[in-house]
């Protein structure tokens, strides 16, 4: 072994010789891996050779037009419900942190109510609400108003009821997630912003929320994946989404299991897409939190192909970011 001055050696000085030693053996790891591989092979073999699964039927219906319509409806409901949930949830979180006890109390009651009752109950409730309301009007509380409709069914259609049911319920969960994120931001950040003369809302929007996002994103990804599957509950009020569209078909051809596989494949496909999306969104908001961003899977692959050591991601400065002027 040669000792070299680490600072001045650079390229010219020889590297110390690598240590030669017999590596520790891990027989336990090999046994565990062996067991899992055998079990997995068994499962695949069963899935491929079992005629009851009828993969040809799965293939036949996977891109069936009514299934695709169901897929479309499921995606739409997920997006609407999550957008409602996130926007309303952040609003509720800010309300809960308000100094005004009525405002924070109202947010607390909302969360208590919507988190405390099952989604299916809320869905059916919104679906049935036109029967309870005689009319919908807009005006001064307890004062005069303008009638919007005397047939609430025309406004609260099935689809609106579904969006209300899923979105309002989601807002209660998102509110707690957002509140946790906001509370995770160091108090010094608010102080520094205040000292610069930033008003409270500006501080929230420009300083606190962007940093809270790091904590908010992972559970939100979770919620989105959960929502994708929760949309299957709306079949209870006769809205045909992915699950219901597979049920409609299996009700007529009795191919229950293959059509459940069709639904599962689609759900898995979209949760996979969401998982990848979440990775990149998290990476975006990690700017400034990590010294260097982790490489993307694509970068890792490229590095592996080139047999380079895995390089760190591009310099933080290269990542596009909303500049403070707008």
């Amino acid at each position: 072994m040669t000792t070299t001055d680490a600072d001045s050696s650079g390229e010219r000085a020889g590297r110390p010789e690598p240590i030669r030693a017999v590596p520790v053996r891990h027989p336990g790891r090999w046994v565990a891996a062996g067991i899992i591989v055998v079990l997995l092979a068994q499962l695949v073999n069963w899935a491929v050779t079992n005629p009851a699964l009828k993969w040809n039927v799965v293939g036949k219906y996977l891109f069936n037009s009514s299934i695709l319509q169901g897929v479309q409806r499921t995606i739409m409901l997920t997006i609407i419900a999550m957008v409602m949930g996130i926007v309303l949830g952040i609003l509720l979180a800010v309300m809960r942190l308000s100094a005004n006890p009525i405002v924070s109390g109202a947010a607390w009651v909302y969360i208590w109510l919507f988190r405390g009752t099952p989604v299916i109950v809320q869905l059916v409730f919104w679906y049935s609400i036109p029967a309870v309301l005689q009319s919908i009007s807009l005006g001064i509380p307890f004062g005069p108003g303008w009638l919007i409709t005397d047939d609430p069914k025309t406004i609260i259609t099935q689809l609106v009821a579904v969006c209300l049911g899923l979105g309002l319920n989601e807002a209660a969960y998102m509110a707690e997630i957002a509140r946790g994120g906001i509370l995770s931001v160091d108090e010094g950040q608010v102080e520094a912003a205040s000292a610069l003369g930033m008003p409270r809302l500006l501080t929230m929007r420009r300083i606190v929320l962007p940093q809270a996002m790091r904590v908010i994103i992972p559970p939100t990804g979770n919620e989105t994946i959960s929502m994708l599957k929760t949309t299957s509950l709306v079949s209870a009020i006769a809205v045909t989404e992915l699950f219901q569209s597979t049920q409609n078909i299996s009700n007529s051809n009795y191919e229950v299991v293959p059509l459940l596989l069709v639904a599962s494949i689609w759900y898995l496909f979209f949760t996979s897409v969401l998982t990848v999306g979440q990775y990149y969104v998290e990476r975006h908001y990690a700017r400034g939190a990590a010294r260097a961003l982790p490489p993307t899977p694509l970068q890792k692959l490229r590095a592996a192909v080139r047999r380079d050591p895995v390089r760190t991601a591009p310099a933080l400065a290269e990542v596009p970011w909303v500049a403070p002027h707008d």
């Binding site: 000292a195 610069l196 003369g197 940093q211 700017r287 400034g288 310099a315 933080l316 400065a317």
Partner: protein
Amino acid sequence: MTDGPPLANHPMGRPADAIPMVEAVGVHKAYGRLEVLKGIDLRVERGAVLCLIGPSGSGKSTFLRCINHLEKIDGGALSVDGELVGYRQSGDRLYELKDREVCDKRAEIGMVFQRFNLFPHLSVLDNIVSGPVWVRKAPGPDSKERARQLLDRVGLADKVDAYPNQLSGGQQQRVAIARALAMDPKLMLFDEPTSALDPELVGDVLDVMRALADEGMTMIVVTHEIGFAREVGDTVVFMDGGVVVEQGDPTEVLTNPRHERTRSFLAKVL
């Protein structure tokens, strides 16, 4: 050492020059039952540098935070540039200022924190322009040009695109000073600016502060750097237990303290 406040860098001949930049009269502050400030009387002239020293828990930082209304005072009167902090007087009645008005006043006072408190999600440049662009609505390109000049001044011209956590503590604190200066403050507050730094990084930050003092900036510095207080301060104030124990010329207070408490404190830190 200067005897009086240096006024050379300020427009002369205006009556405003007679008004001190900061004036505290019997300032009280309590957290519940705990009285942190028990009647502080202080005056900081324009262009003067006042160093606040004292043991932790003596109320120095609290007093500093009262000056830009991060903390509300419970009694006494505190004014900056001749205007009350947090209140407006009309007749013999006090009116609390609206949030917006408090913000406008804070924007004129720069503050530097012990823990830097840079915005970690923004680049160094964006940290510095955040005040001018978001608070003052100044045009982006001009503010960026100004930010580059400020960064050059604190010796970090090459760190424009870096993010705060890629910088050392000393570099972060100098960016924080540049961020405060970007608002063209009439008064700078420093809350133990070097206490969180590795010893070898302290010097760079103090150099920047010294240069600022030489340019005539009015500064209040809470510090444990006795050397800095002696060299740069026009006045040194020793606080303990929520009261001002002793104040005066730095050489006087630091070498010939009149009070026993000042003496024992200095014996420990020097």
